[in-house]
């Protein structure tokens, strides 16, 4: 496959006692679309800033093409960044913002500083504005642009320098839903067109699944799982990943034998193997993998406590022995009705117990959790920043 471009080895970032990154090991391939996904404060922005050269790791190494880059300042890295709130230069117009990087004299092979001819600058800027659909806007002050347009300027400004890697720090965080969807497609198109590596930071799992070749799920300064979107969704490594990616019911279970897991004292067929006999495990059951059947026919029986119409399906909350599940079906079951459920063996995913066990997967406080996911502030860069004591208040 494609070759490895960037590697982080045992990267640790700490401020005093506070450990922000805890032994991160990660490699990124050329032309890959890799997403760092996680809640705010998980260390994803810090990781990005280490790659960008804005931070040096407290311990560990960063390699680009096999060369150690720890102390190389950002302006000497073949990496460009699209910042969270774009960081466009307010005193320059669209053209000058995009041309900014091109106007900086670069050292050529002999180490002499060379400036690009004005003609070439003009040509490259115009080309890039065309790529991001901003032709005709070059003379506008950036403050006169809409959020989406500013976003495109920021992308153009970064890409015009032909970086090997483009870092994107929650680039869509400030856009509204619809624009966001459009830009996701646009970004993917640009990435494929330019054939470069994108390292994308987001807290939005949908975005991550939709765009990435590889997703890195992070929490608490640690990588929880690396994999393709499908792997991550279908085979979460622990309760955190299972919960963070999509909806899931996570239930305590006991592995009775290979392919047999016991939940609520009932045995279910599953596909998972390789656990100790009678090992306590976490069991993930995705809401869409549950079939609602008559109470009598069900493997488990419970009471419907809430139903929400979601367009494509009903989100039904069902109480099983005091534990609330989320079930997504097209069938409508009225509140307080007794139902039974059936789960196919491939609908059950068994995970080892981890530090996250018991923290997720119960829908007792369903509505709140749902909201929480929606508004998980895109501000984690802010948090990281204040620890450095930079320019911000």
């Amino acid at each position: 496959m494609s070759k490895e471009l960037i590697r982080l080895r045992d990267c640790v970032m700490s401020y005093g006692d506070e450990v922000v990154l805890d032994h991160i090991n990660l490699y990124i391939n050329d032309k890959e679309f890799l997403t760092l996904l996680g809640p705010s404060g998980c260390g994803k922005t810090t990781t990005l800033r280490i790659i960008g050269g804005f931070l040096s790791p407290t311990a560990g190494d960063v390699f680009f093409d096999g060369v150690r880059m720890n102390d190389i300042p950002p302006h000497k890295r073949a990496v460009n960044t699209v910042f969270q709130r774009y960081a466009l230069f307010p005193h320059l117009n669209v053209f000058e913002n995009v041309a900014f990087g091109l106007r900086i004299p670069k050292a050529d092979r002999d180490g002499r500083k060379v400036k690009l001819p004005e003609r070439e600058i003009h040509q490259r800027v115009m080309e890039m504005l065309e790529v991001v659909n901003l032709k005709g806007f070059e003379k506008r002050p950036v403050s006169a642009l809409s959020g989406g347009q500013q976003q495109r300027v920021a992308i153009a400004r970064a890409l015009v320098n032909r970086p090997k890697v483009l870092l994107l720090d929650e680039p869509l965080g400030a856009l509204d839903m619809r624009l966001r969807k459009d830009m996701q497609i646009e970004l993917k198109r640009i990435q494929q067109e330019m054939e470069i590596t994108f390292i994308y930071v987001t807290h939005d799992q949908e975005e991550a699944l939709a765009m990435s070749d590889t997703v890195v799920v992070m929490d608490g300064g640690r990588i929880q799982q690396i994999g393709t979107p499908e792997d991550i969704y279908n085979e979460p490594k622990n309760a955190f990943v299972a919960d963070f990616i999509g909806e899931s019911n996570i239930i305590d279970g006991i592995m009775r034998a290979d392919g047999v897991v016991e939940i609520f004292n009932r045995r279910f067929q599953c596909l998972d193997k390789g656990f100790e006999k009678d090992e306590p495990v976490d069991v993930v059951i995705r809401p869409e993998d549950v079939d609602i059947v008559d109470e009598a026919a069900g493997q488990l029986r419970g009471t419907v406590t809430a139903v929400t119409f979601k367009g494509m399906q009903y989100d039904t909350i069902v109480d099983f022995y005091g534990f609330k599940w989320l079930i997504q079906t097209t069938d409508y079951c009225p509140v307080d009705s007794r139902i039974g459920i059936k789960i196919d063996p491939d609908g059950i995913h068994v995970m080892k117990k981890s530090q996250y066990s018991g923290m997720f997967g119960d829908y007792s406080s369903y509505s709140e959790e749902y909201e929480e996911l929606d508004v998980a502030e895109p501000e984690d860069g802010e948090e990281d920043g204040s620890r450095e004591g930079g320019y911000e208040e």
Partner: protein
């Protein structure tokens, strides 16, 4: 309802502006006055503008003001911006602590800042003197100056010190508002930190820097107090010059200089405002238009090919400015110099020019308000004078404290011209330290149109019938002296009871509201303008007043029957004066007959020069084509029988001096 409200509010604002601007307009109007009063209009003229450019004391101080303000603004802006960026790279806790210290100079009263800096400089100079002496002793490669004094440098430092906080206060919010990612973005796009600073940070915080610089400049221009305490004796800003002038007589040249200042600032403001309005309109309309001439010019200059030319031009301008400043200051400082401190309006200024032309020595001429003020100035270490002209009793005090240098009379041949009457006087019995400058009497001046009967006793000063119209001389020795004479005591008494009795006389009158004020040289405008009826002052100054009295004012001078004080002011050289030889040259020049005649004619104080004293009536007649009124001449140069009745001040012992001081302050509070 709404409408009338609007009119009302505008009317109020208008009235406030009238209040703010009326005095300024009056100032401007009277700069065109043909007469020299600032209250009586005598016709239009531009004379004062012509006189202004001739008046080197004002012009020099204007230059000093502008130079110190510009330099302080430039340095403080650069340093403040630098510091602000540094502050914002620190952790919040440390930054906040530093910002508290940063607030101190802004929150502190100017006088506290000024005084503390003054004490700091003086303490530093003492330490430095000891260090330099030691250092010069252990090696002889570099010769460090041992004696440092307050001056332009310390004033500049003080200005920078109080300007920096304002710059930081203005730059800091811009840094705070700046998107923290901008610098990252610039670096990400290939800038080094330095490039990012010039290309991104600077344009972003420029408004803050500009307003910071503007406020710093305003504060510098507007400052008087801090300069007053840190400039020492050898430099004066315009404000300090005016302050010392208000002590005597302000000539409308000051109005002229204020008018020029005001108009230039107004012009700048209007230009700037017009430009801003235009820009705003353009921004509002998003108007597309042909670039103006200046914009095309600047566009041309901003073309990369011309960037080096542009940079060169900027560098050349900066260098030019520095070179100009260096040349100007260098020219003034490399030249031999003599620092003279005298009293206000106490010399014919042409003499200064003549001396400079003859000898090539530049005269740095400063004035002090009174003997006591001069003494304070010398004590506080703020003075680097060579020649001072104190009065008799102060001279003996200075000699006693070892603050004067013996004179080399072989370099002052004109000393021979001094009348023997004025040599070997009690203050300098062996004549080792002094060359007399002038002499005279201290008597009563009154406006004959404001008193019922002509006073001939010091008692008039304490008479309730003149309540509110008497000016007390603002100098403990003279004020108490008059009271002592009135009570029949000697002016040189050390008897505490007598002094206290004299003090009670004054304090009682003060309680009864007899005194309109305590004045020194302000007595001129007060008496000339008919603003007060009775004052104590010097004979020579009375004669000056005669020339300037307003209509309906009839000033007279009398030596009261109780007798009066007669005084000699003499030139002396301070111990360790840096320009000893130049000082002697100056003293010799002033002691000459010609200089004495010119001075006598200008300041109306009697000369100690025998020839000059004799020749003056003839000199006057030749100059003005009319005979000198012998009565006036007698007032100027009191005849021996009058002098008989007068007593000279002697130096008082420290205890008595301390008593004088404390009584005097008690009177003020």
């Amino acid at each position: 309802m709404k409408r009338s409200n609007h009119v009302g509010s505008r009317l109020f604002i208008g009235l406030v502006f009238l209040f703010l601007y009326l005095p300024i307009f009056l100032l401007i109007i009277f700069s065109f006055n043909a007469g020299d009063s600032s209250a009586v209009w005598k016709g239009f003229s531009l004379d004062w503008y012509a006189a202004l450019f001739q008046n080197r004391l004002i012009m020099e101080s204007l230059y000093t003001t502008l130079l110190v303000s510009l330099l302080a603004t430039a340095i403080a802006t650069a340093a403040g911006t630098f510091a602000a960026i540094g502050l914002y790279s620190l952790s919040k806790r440390r930054r906040d602590a530093l910002l508290v210290v940063n607030d101190i100079p802004m929150m502190n009263a100017d006088i506290v800042t000024g005084v503390s800096l003054c004490l700091f400089f003086v303490a530093f100079f003492q330490g430095w003197g000891a260090f330099a002496q030691w250092f010069n002793g252990v090696q002889d490669v570099v010769e460090l100056p041992v004696r440092l004094t307050l001056g332009f440098g310390t004033m500049l430092l003080a200005h920078i010190a109080f300007n920096i906080p304002y710059v930081i206060l203005n730059v800091a919010p811009k840094l705070r508002q700046m998107d923290k990612n901008l610098v990252d973005a610039a670096q990400d796009l290939g800038c080094t930190w330095m490039q990012a600073f010039w290309k991104v940070i600077l344009p972003e915080i420029k408004p803050g820097i500009v307003s910071g610089a503007l406020i710093a400049f305003t504060m510098s221009i507007d400052d008087f107090v801090i300069s007053y305490f840190t400039a020492g004796s050898s430099t004066s800003t315009l404000a300090m010059r005016i302050y010392s002038m208000t002590k005597k007589r302000i000539t409308p040249e000051v109005n002229a200089v204020s008018t020029l200042l005001f108009l230039s600032v107004l012009a700048l403001l209007v230009l700037n405002n017009v430009r801003e309005v235009r820009q705003q309109r353009r921004a509002e309309r998003q108007e597309i238009r042909e670039p103006s001439f200046f914009e095309r010019l600047s566009m041309r200059f901003s073309q990369p090919a011309l960037r080096w030319a542009r940079r060169g031009a900027a560098a050349a301008l900066a260098c030019g400015f520095i070179v100009a400043v260096a040349l100007l200051t260098g020219a003034t400082y490399s030249q031999p110099v003599v620092n003279v401190c005298s009293w206000g309006e106490y010399i014919d200024e042409d003499l200064i020019t003549q001396f400079e032309d003859q000898t090539g020595i530049r005269v740095n001429y400063q004035t002090a308000e009174s003997n006591e003020a001069l003494y304070s100035l010398l004590k506080s270490g703020g003075a680097d004078y060579d020649v001072i002209v104190p009065s008799d009793y102060m001279i003996s005090q200075l000699i006693e404290e070892g603050m004067l240098e013996e004179l080399d009379y072989s370099q002052i041949p004109n000393f021979e011209l001094i009348d023997p009457r004025f040599r070997g006087l009690p203050y300098d019995p062996e004549n080792k330290y002094t060359v007399p400058y002038s002499w005279g009497t201290l008597g009563l001046i009154y406006n004959a149109n404001m008193v019922d009967e002509e006073p001939d006793s010091w008692g008039a000063l304490y008479d309730s019938q003149y309540a509110g119209s008497v000016l007390l001389i603002n100098n403990s020795r003279d004020a108490l002296g008059a009271a002592l004479l009135h009570l029949g005591y000697s002016v040189n008494t050390t008897d505490e009871a007598q002094i206290r009795e004299a003090f009670e006389l004054i304090a009682g009158a003060s309680r009864r509201g007899v005194f309109q004020g305590k004045v020194m040289d302000q007595v001129f405008q007060k008496m000339e303008g008919g603003n007060a009826a009775i004052a104590t002052y010097y004979a020579g100054d009375y004669l000056s007043m005669l020339d300037n009295q307003a209509d309906g004012v009839d000033l007279r001078y009398v030596i009261p029957e109780e007798g009066a004080n007669w005084f000699v002011d003499a030139m002396c050289v301070l111990k360790g004066a840096p320009h000893y030889d130049n000082a002697l040259a100056w003293i010799n020049f002033i002691a000459s007959t010609d200089a004495n005649l010119a001075n006598m004619d200008y300041i109306w104080y009697a000369s100690p020069n025998t020839q000059a004293l004799e020749e003056y009536p003839a000199y006057y007649e030749e100059l003005y084509g009319e005979e000198l009124d012998p009565e006036l001449y007698e007032i100027m140069a009191a005849p021996p029988e009058v002098l008989e009745r007068c007593e000279m001040y002697l130096a008082l012992p420290p205890a008595t001096r301390a008593l004088y001081n404390s009584l005097w302050i008690e009177l003020g509070i």
